[in-house]
């Protein structure tokens, strides 16, 4: 009896935690998307007003922003400034691939970022600005979508975890 109770408790606990973990992903994704927008805006400033070197700008922004986005920028900047067998797009994609797990992003977000990396640094100022703005807009749209999804599912997964746990416990009891 006691063992059964403990077992049920463990099941409920685990299931709740899983529910929480899944619901957290929604929150993290919106947070990451807005961090990315912040980082891109800063990059735009660096390009328009300071004409900084891309590797320096990326490292600087990465350091001040932190989080998964910060790491992505920092890592790319470091790859570029360290040594020169990378093109920007190679360095960007390899950092993106490496940090996939930490970024909580979905396939469509990754696609936007990959397309962004292809153009980064490789046109004149005007072209860069146009491209950053386009990417920003796409990210903003994704963020809006992500928020809607988050509102729908975040609570649901949280309570679903608990409920499934309880249901399982009852069935197995």
């Amino acid at each position: 009896m006691l063992i059964k109770l403990i077992n049920s408790g463990v099941i409920v606990l685990c299931s709740t935690l899983i529910g929480l973990e899944i619901s957290k992903r929604y929150a993290f994704r919106t947070r990451e998307l807005s961090a990315l927008q912040g980082a891109l805006s800063r990059l735009e400033t660096e390009i328009i007003h300071y004409a900084s070197r891309l590797p320096d700008a990326l490292v600087r922004i990465g350091e001040s922003i932190g989080g998964g986005t910060g790491k992505l920028f920092h890592k790319t900047g470091e790859l570029l400034s360290l040594k020169k067998k990378f093109t920007v797009s190679e360095a960007w994609c390899s950092s993106l691939e490496e940090l996939k797990k930490e970024l909580y992003l979905q396939q469509e977000d990754m696609d936007i970022l990959r397309r962004f990396g292809d153009q980064l640094g490789s046109s004149d100022r005007e072209g860069q600005v146009r491209f950053i703005r386009l990417t920003l807009q796409q990210l903003r749209e994704e963020e809006q979508k992500a928020r809607a999804v988050r509102e729908k599912y975040e609570k649901m997964y949280r309570s679903l975890g608990l409920l499934v746990g309880i249901a399982l416990a009852i069935i197995l009891f």
Partner: protein
């Protein structure tokens, strides 16, 4: 007597700066070229879909994939589109957007002051060149600094503490810029018998100081301030207002507004040292713009460069009356 004393052994320095801007494939090939050829290398020509070439020891060579040189076109390494794309990213430090002005002018300055000339398709905006697309041809020009090139001329430019307004006349490729740069270094650092003074360089074409991100890559002297890629007339005025130099040095005057700026500098009591394209004083007097400036008798010393004893020979130095010469024979 030589006007161009020993070259500083900067082989390794320039090699590092040049090699780090080459795409992997081309860097490996160039690195394995015969050593003497690398040491005397003056240009690397990289043209998309055409053979990789270097200019060294007075002629050009096709370069083969194994790093040997050949005379047969068929064996040469052919530059790919990937190579040029990567090269463009590397010479601009992945920041093509930061080089809008340079690309408009058709060259990018590298760390170390070396220049890469570029050609592609220009994009016009109201008749002005706005930018260049599809850049596919690169001429990497290795520039070697000649420290001490002006040591021989310095005594003629000074009278006690006073530095004369000086004009250097020379045909192209005779070491005019090299001489100006070393005059700047001498006046700024000072030398036995002369205490250095503040020097301002207005470097319209980034050739005197070879700036990279605004930092001079050449020895232009410790008391020298450089306005990089700045139009001469505006730059001279800025220098006068902001940096209070004793001497302003600039390259290749030739536009009417330059004359006005020079007069402004004279009124402010600043010494002007500059250069112009001309084979000789007579030649200069035949040019409309130069003759107008010369007739105002602004310049107190006019130095003429030539190659009678090799590139950089100091052929003549005229005093302020333009008739008496201070040299009895050319020196180098």
């Amino acid at each position: 007597m030589t006007l161009l004393p020993q070259m500083k052994d900067s082989t390794l320095e320039w090699q590092e700066a040049i090699f780090e801007t080459l795409p992997d494939t081309i860097r490996k090939i160039i690195r394995s070229l015969p050593v003497p050829l690398i040491q005397d290398m003056e240009e690397i020509n990289i043209r998309e879909n055409r053979p990789l070439m270097v200019y060294s020891r007075g002629r050009d060579y096709f370069v083969c994939p194994d790093g040997s040189v050949c005379t047969h076109l068929e064996r040469a390494y052919i530059v790919t589109a990937d190579d040029t794309r990567e090269l463009m990213q590397l010479i601009s430090d992945y920041s093509i957007y930061a080089f809008d002005e340079e690309i408009q002018n058709g060259y990018i300055t590298l760390r170390g002051g070396h220049r890469v000339g570029i050609t592609g398709k220009t994009v016009l905006d109201k008749g002005q060149i706005r930018t260049m697309k599809h850049i596919n041809s690169f001429n990497i020009r290795i520039s070697k600094e000649v420290i001490g090139a002006a040591n021989k001329i310095m005594p003629f430019l000074l009278s006690g503490k006073k530095v004369y307004h000086t004009l250097v006349l020379s045909p192209p490729q005779m070491g005019k810029t090299t001489l100006l740069r070393d005059i700047a270094r001498n006046l700024s650092d000072g030398f036995p018998g002369y205490r250095g003074v503040k020097v301002g360089i207005v470097d319209e074409r980034s050739e005197i100081a070879g700036c990279w991100y605004g930092l001079p890559q050449r020895q232009v002297g410790i008391r020298t301030d450089v306005l990089d890629s700045c139009p001469k007339a505006a730059g001279i005025m800025m220098m006068i207002r902001s940096m209070s130099p004793r001497i302003i040095l600039t390259d290749e005057i030739g536009r009417p507004e330059d004359a006005a700026a020079i007069e402004e500098a004279l009124n402010a009591g600043i010494t002007i040292i500059t250069s112009a394209h001309a084979a000789d004083l007579q030649d200069a007097l035949a040019r409309p713009f130069l003759s107008r400036i010369l007739e105002r008798r602004i310049f107190e010393r006019i130095a003429v460069l030539g190659d009678s004893l090799g590139v950089g020979t100091l052929e003549k130095i005229y005093a302020e009356d333009y008739s008496s010469q201070l040299l009895n024979r050319p020196i180098r």
